[in-house]
């Protein structure tokens, strides 16, 4: 029982960056803006989030800074693709490069070279009164850091927003057929800006999760491909909030399980255990392939006076 409790706790802990970055990617994508700068944005979120937490002494301010940095990247992506109609993929890659560069440059300029880089206090666990004392479920679900709760709440909130509100319907319409949305008075530009900016903020926050929970400090390139992975998991989740949540949960579960198996010992070389989450994701995709959907206008720019054939 203890083993299971422990396992599930760790799974919830691990899924957060994928959930946040996945939802951020999804939100922009739902208006047609396909963000591919996650890796760079997460790095900047991690770097800036860490630096601000360190110098202000407030991890909350760090999170705000990470979200602002992500939002700023989102704004840039929206501006270049919506106002200037530049290719989304290229802009995304350019922003990715800028993010990679800035993330290491910032600490270098601000902190300089030290033998002992500064450390921040990582996010404390917030045990929810009463709920956390329920046996088994309490420790699994209700004794986590705030971002674990936030990632679930944000996922459910996004689901509600997209499928149960008027603005959500409008937002989705922009990613499916912007000309239709436009012809009915839905402001396609505004929707694209907001979704990309807020999506960017979520991606920035997902990057900050890494120093704030895993390491207490920023290390060069610490995102290690998780930004690209978030894109894959967004496809895995069919660009829909709840499947993205469950997809991230599934991926993390396999990942944590693989580490666990390694410790216990297995006949498989550990590298094959490390491949497991990726391969399992593909296998699940094979089983559920009929349900995966992509917003029809994903990656395309909309220009009112241009016919989009």
């Amino acid at each position: 029982m203890d083993i299971l409790v422990n396992f599930l706790r760790l799974v919830l802990l691990s899924m957060v960056p994928f959930v946040l970055a996945g939802q951020g990617t999804m939100l922009g994508g739902r208006t047609g803006v396909f963000n591919v700068a996650q890796e760079g944005m997460m790095l900047v979120g991690a770097s800036l989030g860490f630096l601000v937490s360190y110098y202000s002494g407030s991890i909350f301010l760090g999170m705000v800074a990470a979200m602002l940095s992500g939002a700023l990247f989102g704004l840039a992506l929206a501006y270049f693709t919506t106002a200037l109609k530049m290719d989304q993929f290229v802009i995304g890659l350019a922003l990715f490069f800028i993010g990679v560069g800035l993330s290491t440059l910032l600490p270098k300029i601000i902190i300089g070279i030290t033998l002992t880089p500064p450390l921040i206090k990582t996010l404390p666990n917030l045990a929810i009164p009463l709920l956390s004392s329920i046996p088994v479920l309490g420790p699994i679900l209700f004794n986590h850091n705030i971002l674990v709760y936030a990632s679930v709440i944000i996922s459910v909130g996004l689901w509600y927003f997209l499928y149960r509100t008027q603005k959500g319907l409008e937002l989705r319409s922009v990613g499916e057929h912007p000309m239709t949305a436009d012809s009915l008075g839905v402001n396609t530009t505004k929707n694209r800006y907001w979704s990309t900016i807020i999506g960017g903020a979520l991606i920035g926050l997902s990057g900050a999760y890494l120093p704030m929970v895993y390491s207490g400090t920023f290390t060069e390139g610490m995102v290690m491909g998780r930004g690209w992975l978030a894109i894959a998991l967004t496809f895995f989740g069919g660009w829909s909030p709840l499947p993205i949540l469950f997809g991230s949960l599934f991926f993390s579960a396999v990942e944590v399980l693989a580490f666990r198996v390694q410790v216990i010992g297995s006949f498989l070389p550990y590298q094959f255990l490390q491949m497991l989450p990726y391969i399992a994701t593909i296998i699940v995709m094979i089983i559920t392939f009929k349900r995966a959907r992509v917003p029809a206008f994903l990656g395309l720019n909309y220009d009112r006076e241009k016919r989009s054939v």
Binding site: T165, K167, E170, E176, A181, S183, G185, R304, E305, V309
Partner: protein, 525 residues
């Protein structure tokens, strides 16, 4: 301006790059009238209305609403002024429900729960009032073109418009649906709505409009009351002096006698007891048997969605035959794939030109050889001879009057009508034993339609077979040797030219087999 006028556009000018789409155009709309807007391809009808609706920005000119100058920056402003528009190409979201498509962009009573019973009730009321009925909870993708048309109109009505623009609403409709639409329009006008009705079809304009404005090449030519004008006047206004009306097939009154019966010729194409069952297990074609003789044009008539598309795709090898047998030139092609068929003698003009027939991201030359790209002289099977292709393309651009900057022009730059011309050029440029043409003249203006008819008749003279699937009954009657009527995937009857009769065909189209023709005939008005 008389006091009846609710909307006026004055001296509107719009330039796209090099083209002057509208040059000082003036247009006025009265309360409770149906105002026809007539003109050939590229006359500027859509552009003018898009400006009114806020989709395009005008370069010059003014818009007056009830005598007051208004500023329309986008569709939102237009909607606020009570203007609604049904677009030439449907603007609908395929994976949304009908309800969602209709209420999108409007304020919903329960906007934070999306409990939409109020909205549904309002829509159902509208449906009843104007005789438009649709199921609100079905997904758009699953609907027929006719139903989608209704959704499009409901969208406008739902917004409480008092000015409704319909851009070529009838191109996608069957005669019955056109009648139903016109009835609805009358109800709306009686309700006080004003309607702008864009079309190429004179007869429709004359039957339903109160006033008619004709545009040609971006200029207004004339505005007339229906009662003041004859067909002849509008034809002249629309086509200018470029078209030879005397010798046109479109305006020909009676050519029937000049047709020589081809039934004695060998059958070029034979289809016996062919069935097709789709992926969901639903039979879409049932036991279809059809022969086409050399030099014959066989038409297929039917209400859209009765299996015409499947028929076209079965013949061209796009989808596999479930049962039955098909012979082309006495050769069994039942299971020949479309790559082979295009190589050996079939040409195809698909119905949905943008999706099924055109490569918007490729250039005009690349578009012209699609399907024939493995054939001489375009290719030796391995390499494409671009020099020949470009030469041919240039010739065809001239012959088919395609408005484009040249073979290297990107397909996406072409207008709808010119895209259709490319498809037609492609189909006629290669010799083919059988041409399958599905709604080949949809969206074409009269001179262009006439051109296509000439081409088809030339094929006929040369002894080639043609299968013409069309929802335009006039068109079929004009040039076919025989007409087969399809209903729910079955051929209900095949009529020879001598027995062509609009009403008889219409009955078959609605599934009524002729048993007592005489009495039935009398029952009709």
């Amino acid at each position: 301006m008389d006091n009846q006028t609710i909307l006026e556009l004055t001296n509107v000018r719009k330039v796209f790059g090099q083209t002057v789409a509208l040059d000082s155009v003036t247009f006025s709309l009265r309360r409770a009238e149906i105002h026809g807007l007539l003109g050939g391809n590229g006359a500027g009808k859509t552009t003018l209305m898009n400006i009114l609706y806020g989709l395009y920005r005008k370069d010059e000119g003014e818009i007056l609403h009830k005598g007051k100058k208004i500023n329309i920056q986008g569709p939102k402003d237009a909607i606020r002024q009570g203007i609604g528009m049904v677009h030439q190409h449907f603007l609908q979201i395929g994976n949304f429900t009908v309800l969602e498509n209709i209420i999108l962009g409007t304020d919903i009573d329960n906007r934070y729960t999306m409990k939409t019973q109020n909205e549904e009730k309002k829509i159902l009321d509208l449906c009843q009032r104007f005789g438009l009925d649709v199921d609100l909870n079905t997904t758009i993708d699953t609907l027929t073109v006719g139903t989608r048309q209704k959704v499009e109109i409901l969208k406008a009505l739902y917004r409480g418009v008092d000015i409704l623009i319909l851009d070529e609403p009838t191109t996608n409709l069957t005669p019955q649906e056109v009648d139903a639409l016109f009835e609805s329009l009358r109800v709306m006008v009686n309700d006080g709505l004003s309607i702008v009705f864009i079309t190429h079809k004179l007869r429709e304009v004359l039957s339903v409009c109160d006033r008619i404005t004709v545009l040609r090449e971006g200029k207004n030519i004339t505005t007339l009351d229906r009662k003041d004008a004859s067909e002849e006047v509008f034809v002249r206004a629309m086509v200018g002096d470029k078209m030879d009306i005397e010798n046109s097939i479109y305006f020909a009154t009676d050519q029937r006698s000049s047709f020589v019966n081809r039934l004695d010729q060998a059958a070029a194409f034979e289809m016996s007891s062919v069935s097709f069952i789709n992926k969901d297990g639903i039979p879409r074609l049932k036991d279809v048997s059809l022969n086409i003789h050399s030099g014959e044009i066989v038409g297929v008539s039917g209400v859209a969605g009765n299996g015409q598309r499947e028929l076209a795709e079965i013949v061209t090898g796009v989808i596999p035959v479930s049962h039955g047998k098909i012979l082309l030139d006495s050769k069994d092609i039942t299971h020949t794939n479309n790559q082979e068929l295009f190589k050996t003698g079939i040409a195809y003009i698909p119905e949905d030109r943008l999706h099924d027939g055109f490569l918007p991201k490729a250039n005009v030359a690349q578009n012209l050889i699609l399907g024939h790209h493995r054939n001489q002289p375009y290719s030796d099977g391995n390499f494409i001879n671009w020099k020949t292709v470009f030469k041919e393309t240039r010739e065809q651009i001239k012959e088919y009057n395609i408005k484009t900057s040249g073979p290297e022009d990107v397909g996406g730059n072409l207008s709808g009508g010119n895209i259709q011309r490319v498809l037609i050029a492609r189909a006629f440029s290669m010799p083919s034993q059988l041409l399958v043409a599905h709604n080949p003249t949809r969206g074409l203006d009269i001179p262009s339609m006439d051109f296509v008819y000439q081409k088809m008749l030339k094929r006929r003279e040369e002894g080639y077979a043609t299968l013409l699937i069309s929802e335009d009954l006039d068109e079929l009657i004009r040039i076919c040797d025989r007409i087969a009527v399809i209903y729910r995937g079955e051929i209900l009857g095949i009529l020879p030219r001598s027995e062509f009769d609009k009403y008889a065909i219409g009955r078959l189209m609605s599934g009524i087999k002729e048993e007592n023709p005489a009495t039935e005939e009398k029952a009709l008005p």
